[in-house]
Subunit: 298 residues, 2 copies
Amino acid sequence: MQELKVQPECIPCFFRQVVIALKDSPLENKNKLKIMQECLQEVSYQQLERTPAHATTFVHRRVRELLGYDPFLEKKKKFNQIALGLYPELKKIIASSNEPLRTAVRLAIAGNVIDFGIFAEIDIEGELQKALSVDMPFEEYEALEEAIIRNNEILYLLDNAGEIVFDRLLIEFLQEQNRKVIAVVKGAPVINDATMEDAIEVGLTEVCKVVDNGSDGIGTILEWCSESFRETFSEASLIISKGQGNFETLSTAEKNIFFLFQVKCEVVAAFIGVRKGERLLIGTNTLREHLYGVPQVK
Amino acid sequence: MQELKVQPECIPCFFRQVVIALKDSPLENKNKLKIMQECLQEVSYQQLERTPAHATTFVHRRVRELLGYDPFLEKKKKFNQIALGLYPELKKIIASSNEPLRTAVRLAIAGNVIDFGIFAEIDIEGELQKALSVDMPFEEYEALEEAIIRNNEILYLLDNAGEIVFDRLLIEFLQEQNRKVIAVVKGAPVINDATMEDAIEVGLTEVCKVVDNGSDGIGTILEWCSESFRETFSEASLIISKGQGNFETLSTAEKNIFFLFQVKCEVVAAFIGVRKGERLLIGTNTLREHLYGVPQVK
């Protein structure tokens, strides 16, 4: 089993991410270009034998170091507030659903799809309706449902600020089913990924135990995580994993993981064999058989 | 008057171009990534105080050097043949037009718009109809017509292989009006820009005098061109310039130039103040007033 490796197509994307990180900076273009050139240097010396998430972690570290601040801090606060504004409506949708777990799962994936940065321009009602009705190529809903029934504890790997309000709703539902959820945030800022500050901001810390993974790695790069998180991870019998970064970095992990995310680029789409933009709910068992030809354990 | 400078958004685009250059190479991804890393180094050390065309020239040089061959050679031959297949139909369209000059100019711009790489999938009839009817924000047709009447000699800066078949048709029309055209190709291969080989392939050398500019620079970077070309350029009283690269590198040239091209990126679109994808026919006089506030010489 081989994890997804950096592809040539990833390189321009790395620098699109730097452009986004620098977009709202008051720096002159000349100085933005200098930061970009430092990042070019950074990537030019990397081994590039791991996942794109791994490689871009170094890039985003360099950007924060050179800027001297976290360029996503304000955006994350804004995204959390936007998503919190949707909370009452989302809560109602789940409460009135015939299949509240499926609805909560689909909404949690919607949280990964919605770009809170363009929120003012998007049709949120349409987006939520789409989330509830759109086809998903691997909707392993029954397998997830069974796994939840069989496991009292669930480790829940969060992804972005804003999105975590949608996760809070799924976590609330799981806790109402007497499941104990431990939610995981990043140990330090990286892109718009949720940290403890974000978890507190959206009230998640009042809903369940929240721990940080001790790392600023994109996704979950276990060797960079704290020992305490690695223990928690290793002991988990069921993991719900949000977002493409966690998918990239955990696709070969020998754990019982359900990945909930939108496929955001052609490279990951080609790796899985689906189309860019698809929403997935796929467990490691099926994933392994599908990607690596490893037979499913029944 | 300041020429367009490299913007942060250009950096990812430079590397998208490298991905395209390497796409059909039989190299393993690992080796493609090594070439990309060499290009990252290249750009990380550049001054980046000139046009994007200038900066990418170094990138494409490095790619050819590391590959050991011109990655666009076969594509250019293919594009020439595809475009030659359209020649009879294009000739008829111009011959039957009430405004043959305008039609030939619009088709020459269409040659800059059509992506011959996806030719099999495009609706060429629809594309040609669109070329003849679409709105163009600066269609300085009358000014061009007058300039052609006033000048017996026209220097015609070509852009891409394939596209040059469309240019041949405009050049044929100009020569039928007893205008002497000198067409200019690149002095050495760079991306899919036309060289003397391409001009011969599409029969352009039988239609008019064709000279090369002595350079592998993207666009027309005068200080890199041969002395003989610089003389020709300096003596020209009317220049028709094809493509965005020539626009980038000649927007501040103190010459009587009409630029015919499609705006292919947001950076150039923002520089001119039009939308990406627009087709332009704009002369230096209007351009200067519009971009730099330099009054028009009437």
